[in-house]
Amino acid sequence: MITLYGNNRSRATRNLWMLEELGVDFERNMVDHTNGDSKKADFLAINPAGKTPALTDGDAAMFESLAINLYLAMNYGKGSLWPDSQAGQAACIQWTMFTATEIEPHTVGALIELIFKPKDLKDEAVAEACLAKLPPALNVLETTLGKNAYLAGDAFTAADLNVACVVNSLNMIGFDFAPYPKVTAWLKTCVDRPAQQKVAAQRG
């Protein structure tokens, strides 16, 4: 049995999206990362870093949200979210790593300043500096989506899910996607999927 650890205010929602896409059975453990529960011994046995999300699957235990999604796709999404072709699989790995290294550091940096910090500690200049680093990565996405409907080809895969869940976080801060029409259209197609809509509804 698969258990996903983390509440709806954590990056566990990314993994929920993946689990819903795959249609596999799983349990939730809503361990809270804000009240100290994720630093207690029973959770530290699963993730010694005390962070959510984490996942157990039989005797497998892991953390890092994007890695969890890749693992789930590789194991349970063969022929769909983990495509059959070697080129498609390579694209899934590349784009997932690309979002972890080229996009998420900057989106998280901006979100911390503009959303998560208390009002008197917010530093808009830091947020701006983070957002200023995004155009090269978004241009790479725009170019790719000018060639195919999805990042790994003509069908929705783990590549799209993992990039979309990071890029979509920019909508929380009213990011201007106007210079990236292909990315805008693709993002809407991704987040409109029933699996993601179900997660969004739970999240409220």
Binding site: S85, Q86, A90, P136
Partner: protein, 216 residues
């Protein structure tokens, strides 16, 4: 035939190590940054951003050094660098992303200060701050390495290769590993493997030349 693009003074060395571990036949295309070979029209076709490394394997084309290693392990390392059981595979994927997302920004930030700046120009406060934030990450590794010799269990896997080639940046910038003896021992064990030794031997003269130019 597998083709790997990127010189010995780029992250391509990570992939050369993996290719050597797997014993694969491949062609290494060493692009010269100085000559802008990474901006040639042919190269931009396979990597529009002009970054290295890039791997071409049949119709599969991918960038992101640690991602390339994950791809290679999955395709060619079954039972070895890509272990057979789900628990170890989960850890291979986890540690690869952890290395890229958690450790590399700090390790790379540090080595930039050491490589591209002379000692007198280094931002000591930045180096100190990054070292402080690196500590908890090494402690997390030490917790895992207290339970098994390697990150995904008792054998050397993709997890070790991908994290060791990030830890390399710390080692090359005189990071003090004293509080984390298990990490230091693991690093030496992993990094010193014959496959990587071969890559590092080929890299050494090229890297020395580059450092002379940078630190002149």
């Amino acid at each position: 035939m597998i083709k790997l693009y990127g010189s010995y003074v780029s992250r391509a060395t990570r992939n050369l190590w993996m290719l050597e571990e797997l014993g694969l036949t491949y062609e290494h295309v060493s692009l010269d940054w100085g000559k802008q070979e990474n901006r040639s029209p042919e190269y931009l076709k396979i990597n529009p951003a002009g970054k290295v490394p890039t791997l071409v394997d049949g119709d599969a084309i991918l960038s992101e050094s640690l991602g390339i290693n994950l791809y290679l392990a999955d395709k060619y390392g079954a039972g070895g660098l890509w272990p057979d059981d789900d628990a170890a595979r989960a850890r291979c994927v986890q540690w690869s992303f952890w290395g890229a997302a958690e450790l590399e920004p700090l390790a790379y930030g540090r080595i930039r200060e050491f490589m591209f700046k002379k000692e007198s120009e280094r931002d000591a406060a930045l180096v100190e701050d990054m070292a402080e934030r690196t500590g908890p990450l090494l402690t997390l590794m030490a917790l895992t390495l207290a339970e098994s010799d390697y990150l995904a269990g008792d054998e050397f896997t993709l997890a070790d290769l991908n994290v060791a080639c990030v830890v390399e940046y710390l080692e090359r910038s005189q990071f003090d590993f004293t509080p984390w003896p298990k990490v230091e021992a693991w690093y030496k064990r992993s990094y010193g493997r014959p496959a990587n030794q071969k890559v590092q031997d080929a890299r050494a003269p090229i890297a020395a030349q580059m450092m002379k130019r940078l630190q002149g």
